[in-house]
């Protein structure tokens, strides 16, 4: 598999085409946060909304446009974190960031288990310019959670 094929794995292509969580919806949960992030190099944008159900991620939805890496990444993220506790979502985010910094090398089994489909993004680590694309949705998610928790009593 070439480095290019390693980056554009089938899982990623599938997620880019059939993205999970696409379409911003009203979330009927007590704590809702939203974040708008822009990739300044290409102008890609994402608006992502998170609803918290106690300390669990109750719902994630988003709208935006971008390259297949950014779209697939936010799709995988939405699928992964929905239903996770905040603590689990934090660990998932950390693992994904580690994967981006791993220069294309696989992570240990524990972190790979956390990431599920997101391990397919391993190839992105070989292309520093694309890490931003893959991280865009994750940055929005992280910020949206912070926004949601601002209203927490």
């Amino acid at each position: 598999m070439s480095a290019l094929e390693q980056m554009y794995q089938q899982v990623i292509m599938d997620h880019a085409r059939q993205a999970h969580g696409r379409g911003l919806v009203e979330i009927e949960l007590p704590l809702v946060g939203e974040s708008h992030q822009v990739n300044t190099t290409c102008g890609d944008e994402i608006r992502l909304r998170v609803g918290l159900d106690g300390d669990r991620i109750g719902a994630v939805s988003w709208e935006g446009q971008g390259c297949s890496i950014s779209q697939a990444s936010v799709s995988v993220l939405s699928e992964l974190v929905e239903g996770e506790s905040l603590e689990e979502a934090d660990r998932t985010m950390d693992a994904f960031r580690d994967l981006m910094q791993a220069k294309g090398e696989p992570l240990d089994d524990d972190r790979e288990d956390l990431l599920g489909d997101a391990t397919a993004f391993v190839g992105v680590g070989k292309y520093p310019a694309r890490i931003k694309c893959a991280m865009l949705g994750w940055m929005a998610f992280k910020d949206a959670v912070i926004q949601a928790r601002k209203d927490q009593p």
Binding site: S2, L4, M7, M13, T41, G43, G66, C67
Partner: protein, 424 residues
Amino acid sequence: MLSSSLRDDFPLLTRTVRNGKPLVYLDSGATAQKPRAVIDAERDFYEHHNGAVGRGAHLLAEEASGLFEAARGDVATLVGAQHEEIVWAENATAALNLVASGIGNASAGIGGEEAARFRIGPGDEICVTEAEHHANLVPWQALATRTGATLRWIPVDDHGRLDLDDLDELVNERTAVLAFTHVSNLTGVISPVAALVARAKAVGALTVLDGCQSVPHLPVDVAALDVDFMAFSSHKMLGPTGIGALYGRKELLDALPPSVFGGGAVKVVTMETTSWLDAPMRFEAGSQPVAQAVGMGAAARYLMEIGMDRVEAHERELAALLRGGVADLPGMRLLGPEGDADARDVIAIAAVSVDGIHPHDVGQVLDDAGIAVRVGHHCAQPLHRRFGVTGSTRASAHVYTTPDDVRAFTEALATVPAFFGVKA
């Protein structure tokens, strides 16, 4: 077409890139590669002549000052300016900001009576175009906000040309400044400078030309163009980064207040007031990028040795090949004039929107084939918006670009839809 043996002057072009492939460099619109003459000029300066410019009495200071000013002269010659009409700036962005901020400072009362001619305020207008690089738009937005003047713009038509139908209304007696690009960094379209300058002159507006994409590729003569100011960068014309230049009519430069204040730019300083030196010194406060200036001078000489007429002819032939090659591909949209029929007034730039595929993804497949292009909005968001897209994949050429480079680009581009499972 220029001889491909000219490529031997550019050491970097011999390297290989991804998968050991030879480099096909089509990103010169973003930054050009450097000939040995430029690299050697910088090295020679540091190895033999480095000293404080305009500040010492020793031999090295003299030599450094001499080279610094000789470089200014070479850059002036390239664009048909007088020696003292060239001001060094960090880059073209800084050069454009120098003009906008200078007008803003004059409007705030800085520079006294000699600067009064630049004062603008509510009721005055600044006119730009929809085709501008952000560097020739944002400073004018800021100036409008700062002074209360109104920002207006000349629209672009579906083919990427400035729509001059309402020119007389858009540039009118209230217009203080008309700032526009000489060549679009997205479409490669050459602006109708004569018509724009004539209108600006008729209403007494200052003209500010963005020459970033013209000076490296076409013969440019500021006296013939009759513009008041022109900004251009070094690194796009085969020179080093970290330096650019501003051309300004001498009597205007001598009256425009500086926007960076400090030593080396002043005549008399008291505790209350300061009088400035004439141009270009008044704009060159603080230590200057001397080796870079020397490198930019070497780049100007290198281009003049080839001859800008020959550079332009090369550019036009490549433009036809490039645009014709892309126009033949299914599922691709060339932003700006389509096909080769319109190659008359464009330089060798082709910005392509590939149906259903994001520019970053397109660029990645090209990169895998060793082809370097620019992807994204190329600092021209409004013009992309005009074409209904957020970004594009842009190929741009220079003196070292060959028909083989163009062929490699169009061939690789043709494979992109299939790679992403999109029907072209």
